[in-house]
């Protein structure tokens, strides 16, 4: 009996990793379709985008790189579906080559032409460099003067979407998807505090606890909370995709975590009650 408790306390890492792999692989091969309840923060994010004034500009900051892509790319696609259904012009802005590739992949998956949207008339991609706060200030306050060309080397002033563009007043919303806490907070300073522009965010789940104060204060109107938030947005935008599939994976893997924790504690207390085992 004691050896069982010892074994429960000391499950080989290979077995743990194997269980996690199975929990991840099974829903991919055999989608389960576990239920999802859309969270309030995702609803608020959706509503904030929905309430963006027709004809205004939306600044969409894509900054999750390779690491955050599995979590936030589905959100970017869902949000882009939503934006392209509306009469708004979208300025995608990136600051590194990986996110530039991610952004073009959004268009590949989305097919803007399906919504009657075309590059240069309804959306554009800008590639900026430099410190983030400087980039944000440029995009919000001084775009045409400071950024002469887009990522495809077109002159911004020649693009139809910028005809009559009056910088800050025309921006109806900033939507950021980032894995950097400093960037997500930086947008609060630049967009909300400085220019009083509506702001919606999206980030990894572990960043939520740090960003919640801004949401509670009303500075961030809503946010996408990691993979679950991305799945919520896909459901709200009526375009279920990778994030909805990922929720099955999330549910199963977190069940595995819970089961492992329970097993570990059973092993610990069992061994302890028999007067042996690890402390």
């Amino acid at each position: 009996m004691s050896s069982i408790f010892e074994k429960l306390q000391d499950i080989p890492r290979g077995l743990i990793f194997g269980l996690v792999i199975i929990a991840m692989a099974y829903p991919i091969l055999n989608p389960i379709g576990l239920p999802i309840t859309v969270g309030q923060t995702s609803k608020d994010a959706f509503n904030a985008v929905d309430e963006t004034e027709d004809g205004s500009f939306v600044v969409f900051h894509v900054q999750y790189g390779a690491g955050g892509k599995p979590t936030l790319q589905p959100a970017a696609i869902a949000v882009s579906h939503h934006l392209f259904q509306k009469d708004v012009k979208v300025i995608y802005f990136v600051d590194n080559p990986v996110d530039l590739a991610n952004t073009y992949e959004i268009f590949d998956k989305l097919d803007p032409a399906k919504y009657g949207k075309s590059y240069g008339e309804d959306y554009v991609v800008l590639s900026l460099t430099g410190p983030f706060l400087t980039q944000a200030a440029i995009v919000l306050g001084n775009l045409i003067e400071t950024v002469p060309k887009d990522s495809e080397e077109n002159n911004l002033v020649d693009l139809p979407m910028f005809e009559g563009y009056t910088e800050t007043e025309d921006i109806g919303l900033v939507f950021q998807l980032t894995t950097s806490g400093d960037v997500s907070e930086g947008w609060v300073y630049q967009a909300v505090s400085r220019y009083n522009i509506r702001l919606v965010g999206g980030w990894l789940s572990m960043m939520t606890s740090s960003m919640i104060p801004y949401y509670q204060a009303g500075q961030i109107l809503g946010f996408i909370d990691g993979s679950k938030g991305a799945a919520d947005y896909e459901v709200l935008a009526n375009h279920p995709g990778d994030a909805v599939m990922i929720t099955d994976i999330l549910s199963l893997t977190q069940l595995i975590y819970l089961a492992l924790i329970v097993v570990g504690n059973i092993g610990y207390f069992g061994a302890k009650s028999l007067g042996e085992g690890k402390s």
């Binding site: 743990i16 239920p35 080559p97 975590y257 492992l260 610990y268």
Partner: protein, 212 residues
């Protein structure tokens, strides 16, 4: 280099540059802003030091290849080959070119994603190993971790909505409260460190104690 120069010149530079940047943040003075802008511009020159990393890599791995360090030299040879290949391709085709982007998209991106994904395995192993109710503190950690994980798992709130409410309550009270406290402390600590650095009271990073 005399001890006077070696010890005091860095501290004087730190003080002068630091004071300009502090005054630039708080004051409205075109002269100070102009000097601060110049300092920021010159700061870019520091990025030339990025080559120090490449030189260091080539020295370290080159040494291992030349010495045929057992178990390592072939990895070092491969590292040098990859460094050179990326550098040549990037310089020849340009970093915005299709070829270079193909390499980034098909090598760097999957590797980065894979490493990030491996976090799930580390978390599983870490949670299993650490979350044992050995004492009151860990028991509380275990209980809150359990509730938060259940609240985060899409399945449970869908079946029992109160899981989400409990999770949100834990976040809104304990987590946000403690994060705010740590954040305030970090801010104050950073200010104290900054003032000490400005006035030359903090020299640990320079590798010497004052007076040594």
């Amino acid at each position: 280099m005399s001890e006077l120069v070696r010890r005091n010149v860095p501290l004087i530079i730190t003080f002068l540059v630091g004071m300009v940047m502090v005054l630039e943040y708080y004051t409205v003075s075109p002269e100070i802003m102009a000097v601060a802008e110049q300092i920021n511009t010159w700061r870019v020159i520091l990025y030339a030091c990025v080559y120090l990393g490449t030189i260091n890599l080539l020295r370290l791995h080159g040494r291992r290849v030349m010495r045929r360090t057992e178990g390592q030299w072939y990895f070092s040879a491969w590292t040098i080959l990859i460094i050179v290949a990326y550098a040549v391709l990037g310089l020849y085709y340009g970093v915005e070119s299709t070829n270079y982007r193909w390499m980034m998209d098909n090598v760097n991106v999957p590797l980065g994603s894979t490493m990030y994904a491996s976090l799930a395995f580390y978390m599983a192993a870490g949670a299993y190993r650490v979350l044992r109710a050995r004492n009151l503190g860990v028991a509380l950690l275990l209980a809150s971790a359990f509730l938060v994980i259940m609240g985060n798992t899409p399945l449970f709130p869908a079946m029992f909505p109160w899981f989400a409410a409990v999770r949100n309550w834990i976040f809104d009270t304990f987590v946000v409260g403690s994060y705010r406290a740590i954040r305030i402390g970090v801010g104050l600590g950073g200010v104290a460190l900054g003032i000490r650095t400005l006035f030359g009271l903090e020299t640990g990073y320079l590798g010497r104690r004052r007076g040594e």
